[in-house]
């Protein structure tokens, strides 16, 4: 189905099942330990051997020699694969650095081999016997030092432009009565999903099947085929349960490749999990940024000029963190510019982590808005509302593609310089949030509110993230029991895909939820949008919607009903005087339909985004500078909420990760040898139970018929956008200390704290 006109009434609007806060359909499996994750598939192939990855001990240079003698002779060892005996390997379309290094080394902990043995203990012990001699060459590991050599990014995620300009920023800023100019820094961050990357690979002749943990099945298949140099028809990926991803499992990674190579060499199925301590350096991370923002405004607070520049680094051939992107769309102002500069670094590969671009971008822009409001003597909420815009102020002639897979052919649509938003309720989010959170009680004078030894403050930030549209397909079967089975290669990374897809199919076919079976994450199913960029929920359900429309037609056709006249409800289809159960309609043969959603140019006519407002109360220990988050509220306007329970979980989870970015998360770089030092869960700190208060989320009652037949949009990443700034602003309100360098750890506060009362 092509979606090229705004949605009108359709069966989803009944909201009998969709929109209800139903429990997850996979909840009983997840809570009993019976949901099978990649490494646990003892059931799929017999005789699995264990692989253990050896990571490079240098960041850049060459392997001079590898001595495998002892490792090969170790008990239980079946095979060792290194670049020397792996055969010719390509590089996946989505990988910046090769997954198997050697002799050239691209980054620290790049896989340089896999040792396969009968048992895990044997593989690990033998891996420790591999002796490697390297020749280390000088690398660039310091973004600060490389900043001035950074160049305009040639390639941007999604295919947009590195720079943009409207009017004359320099002039507008120079003429502005009130000016603000500051530079900020965000940290390198690690996804740290709970399940390490893991794969079981099995060859049958030249056919490879791998059970893995991956957000984007079709990308994984394509890149596995590309890397091995085999046709993708010979590759099957299966990933029904994924222990978190956050962008870290968007791509084929070393676990999968090394399992495939190990299995080929050992002539046995091989299972490999990436050791936790390898993950931050071996896989991708969120790039650190340096961001400079300048705002010029009138004395009464109207923004006249705004500029946002961002510097980040990546491996050669990589992409920048698009931290200035949201500044093209979020606030009004006539004279403006954005720019992304990319430095070539030899640190591990940077790539997408939850809300790439906006998460670090808003972490900065929304402090700037707080600082500028203060400079203007305005309430920060009123300052934002005054500069709201219902059209996109800066829409470059080659806009960022809305297709995250960048596979949609360029459309010959007329460029609209200032497209309207399909729906934009930022002001409503801010106003409602202010009311619910008790904003009026905030003392605009910082460091004035004390609670015993604690300095207490509250902060706000706007949330913004684009809604991305991409093709998504599904197959739907109806059987003689009246059961509807959905098959799509969509993944559920904790987002609730199983549940909202089941709800969609139940609503469309008029059956209760327990008559729907959802099967996900198998490349033998139709290709979906996959999970990433908060595009999964809306697009995958729209794909299922399309397939269900076809299945409804098939039912009508089989029963000889007038097309489009059937009423599907209570497991029956009614038309005129006829009322037939779906079980009967399906008959012994059953019925099957397959379709996809694809999009016209509605996303060019209208800019599609999601909006929100984050409110945070913190208490800062006046002696130690320790920050505790006391209250959090998010108000979100992001289209129809398909399941308020799972959608809320996405938002509280994102808020939690935002607190991590604000207060603790930072991969520390050893600039001498070029690696992330704190590469495990003890030294890279993520929020724990004790760090989070109860959180509140409000969804505005909204539908967006421009987005899809589901009238839904993304949710999962909006929840992190702006959180870090809301925390930073609350800390400023509590202490009077501005920290422009994330994370805001106590050492950045302690020497400037007000005297304890």
């Amino acid at each position: 189905m092509k979606f090229d006109k705004p949605a009108t009434d359709n069966p989803i609007d009944q909201l009998k099942v969709v929109g209800k806060p139903v429990d997850r359909v996979d909840g009983r499996l997840k809570t009993t330990g019976t949901a099978p994750y990649a490494y646990e598939r003892h059931d799929v192939v017999p005789n699995q051997a264990y692989g253990y990855i050896v990571g490079s001990a240098i960041s850049k240079g060459r392997i001079v020699s590898m001595d495998l003698t002892a490792a090969k002779a170790a008990p239980g060892v079946l095979a060792i694969v290194t670049a020397k005996n792996a055969g010719k390997l390509g590089k996946g379309n989505f990988n910046t650095a090769p997954l198997l290094g050697g002799p050239e080394i691209s980054h620290y902990h790049q896989a340089i081999g896999v040792v396969v043995a009968e048992t895990f203990e044997q593989a690990r012990a033998a891996a420790n016997l591999v002796r490697v001699e390297y020749k280390r060459t000088k690398g660039a590991f310091d973004l600060e030092a490389m900043k001035d050599k950074a160049e305009p990014a040639k390639s941007i995620a999604g295919g947009g432009t590195s720079d943009s300009k409207v009017g004359d920023f320099a002039k507008g800023f120079a003429n502005a009565p009130v000016q603000f100019d500051a530079t900020y820094r965000t940290a390198y961050e690690s996804h740290c999903m709970m399940e390490p990357h893991a794969t079981i690979a099995s060859w049958q002749d030249d056919q490879l099947t791998f059970w893995t943990s991956n957000q984007m099945i079709a990308w994984a298949v394509g890149d596995m085929a590309e890397t091995l140099g085999i046709p993708k028809e010979k590759v099957r990926a299966i990933s029904p349960f994924i222990g978190g991803g956050f962008g870290g499992k968007l791509f084929l990674r070393a676990d999968a490749l090394m399992a495939a190579l190990g299995a080929r060499a050992a002539r046995r199925p091989v299972k490999v999990t990436l050791q936790r301590a390898l993950m931050p350096n071996n896989t991708t991370h969120r790039a650190a940024t340096i961001q400079r923002v300048r705002i010029g405004a009138t004395k009464d607070g109207k923004i006249t000029a705004i500029a946002h520049e961002s510097w980040s680094g990546d491996q050669p051939g990589g992409k920048p963190e698009t931290a200035a992107m949201q500044t093209r769309s979020l606030y009004a102002g006539a004279d403006r510019m954005t720019a992304h500069r990319l430095a070539v670094l030899d640190l591990p590969e940077a790539n997408a982590m939850r809300a790439p671009g906006e998460a670090p971008g808003l972490a900065v822009l929304e402090i700037v808005m707080d600082e500028m409001a203060e400079k203007l003597g305005m309430d920060p909420i009123e300052f934002r509302i005054l500069n709201d815009t219902q059209v996109v102020p800066d829409n470059p002639s080659k806009p960022q593609s809305s297709d995250p897979q960048s596979k949609k052919p360029e459309q010959q649509t007329k460029h609209i310089p200032h497209p309207p938003f399909s729906k934009r309720q930022l002001v409503e989010c801010l106003r409602l949030g202010a009311k619910r959170f008790g904003w009026e009680k905030r003392n605009p004078q910082p460091a004035k509110v004390r609670d015993g030894k604690w300095l207490v403050g509250i902060g706000v930030a706007a949330a913004f993230r684009d809604n991305l549209l991409t093709k998504s397909a599904a197959r739907v079967r109806l059987d003689k029991r009246g059961v509807v089975t959905v098959e799509t290669d969509m993944t559920d990374i904790g987002t609730g895909s199983y549940t909202i897809i089941a709800q969609t199919a139940a609503e469309m076919m008029g059956v209760p939820l327990d008559k729907v079976v959802v099967r996900l994450g198998d490349s033998s199913f139709p290709v979906s949008c996959g999970s990433g960029g908060q595009w999964g929920g809306n697009n995958s359900t729209a794909g299922v919607y399309s397939a269900c429309v076809k299945l409804r037609q098939a039912v009508e056709e089989k029963l000889g009903l007038e097309a489009g006249q059937g009423v599907f409800a209570d497991g029956h289809v009614r038309s005129g005087s006829r009322n037939v159960s779906l079980a009967e309609a399906a008959g012994d043969q059953g019925l099957v339909a397959e379709d996809f959603i694809e999009y016209g140019d509605l996303d060019k006519q209208f800019h599609q985004s999601t909006f929100g407002a984050h409110f945070v109360e913190v208490a800062v220990d006046s002696f130690t500078g320790e920050t505790r988050v006391r209250r959090m509220l998010a108000v979100c306007a992001c289209g129809r909420i398909l399941n308020p329970k799972t959608a809320r979980s996405q938002v509280i989870g994102a808020m939690t990760m935002g607190v991590g970015a604000a207060l603790m998360e930072e991969l520390a770089v050893d600039k001498r040898i070029g690696y992330f030092v704190n590469h495990d869960l003890a030294t890279y700190e993520v929020p724990v139970h004790a760090d989070l208060p109860p959180q509140e989320v409000i969804f505005l009652d909204e539908t967006d018929p421009i987005s899809s037949p589901m009238k839904a949009k993304g949710v999962a990443e909006l929840g992190i956008c702006g959180v870090a700034a809301a925390v930073a602003n609350a800390i400023y309100n509590a202490t009077g200390i501005r920290v422009r360098n994330y994370p805001i750890t106590l050492d950045k506060l302690i020497d400037r704290l007000p005297e304890p009362a």
């Binding site: 591999v130 001699e133 020749k135 709970m194 222990g243 808020m655 040898i673 139970h689 004790a690 109860p694």
Partner: protein, 238 residues
């Protein structure tokens, strides 16, 4: 210092006193450092912690290959007795996951840092990745599979479903095992850091619960919902 030998081929954390200033240097993967760096760093900072068997300046000697030491381990898991013949290096977690194929307990880090592998041994919650199976001769182990099944959920499992106390599900077994044992710890009067008076009987306040559950990381950030689920059960049982 972290666990075991798995870092020996990549001892990433060793302190370096030198630097990567030269255009090219020979580096060995045992340490990731050069001879020069090693000499500067000296035995006090590096050799003592990182290089128990090998020192630079010597020709690396091939370690003597040792056949795995096997041990008979009797475990009672979820009420069923098992006699296993295990490599003595096998962790309790791998005995459960790889040998008994009880894969409900998760391996999130294999380093005792995340809590995903939490199981209940003789009534107490432990990280099963940080203990060798051979150390649990005759012990009684309860895993997530022993608490309830999809058709017959334990009340804590029910509460997690109702409160959406999970997202990806990978920390969930650990959270649930931890929560069940934690409530018993409170009953038993075991103190925590969150208590003002450690001699008092602990109460299940929000702060107490969050402190006691902080060994179980949930990167999806379901903490708020997990706390709600545990509170709901505690209301019934504590």
């Amino acid at each position: 210092m972290r666990t075991g030998g798995e870092h020996m081929s990549n001892p990433e954390d060793c302190e370096l006193k030198g630097g990567a200033s030269e255009e090219s240097e020979i580096v060995h993967n045992d340490t990731g450092i050069t001879r020069r760096e090693f000499i500067i760093a000296g035995t006090a900072t590096v050799a003592a912690t990182m290089l128990p068997t090998l020192a630079y300046g010597q020709t690396p000697q091939q370690p003597k290959l040792v056949q795995p030491q096997m041990a008979k381990v009797a475990l009672k898991v979820n009420g069923t007795s098992h006699e296993l013949e295990l490599d003595t290096r096998t962790t309790l977690l791998d005995a459960l996951r790889e040998h008994l194929r009880l894969t409900g307990s998760k391996k999130g880090c294999d380093q005792g840092q995340c809590g995903a592998c939490t199981v209940i041994v003789n009534g107490r919650r432990i990280n099963s990745c940080l203990t060798l199976a051979a150390m649990h001769q005759g012990d009684s182990v309860t895993t997530i599979e022993g608490l309830g099944t999809p058709d017959n959920l334990h009340p804590m499992q029910q509460a997690f479903v109702k409160c959406d106390g999970y997202q990806c599900g990978y920390c969930t077994a650990g959270q649930i095992c931890s929560a069940v044992a934690m409530l018993n710890e409170i009953k038993a009067g075991i103190p925590s850091h969150a208590m003002a008076d450690i001699t008092a009987q602990p109460k299940l306040t929000g702060a107490e619960l969050r402190e006691r559950m902080s060994g179980n990381i949930c990167r999806c950030g379901a903490y708020s919902n997990i706390a709600e689920a545990i509170t709901e059960i505690a209301g019934r049982t504590v």
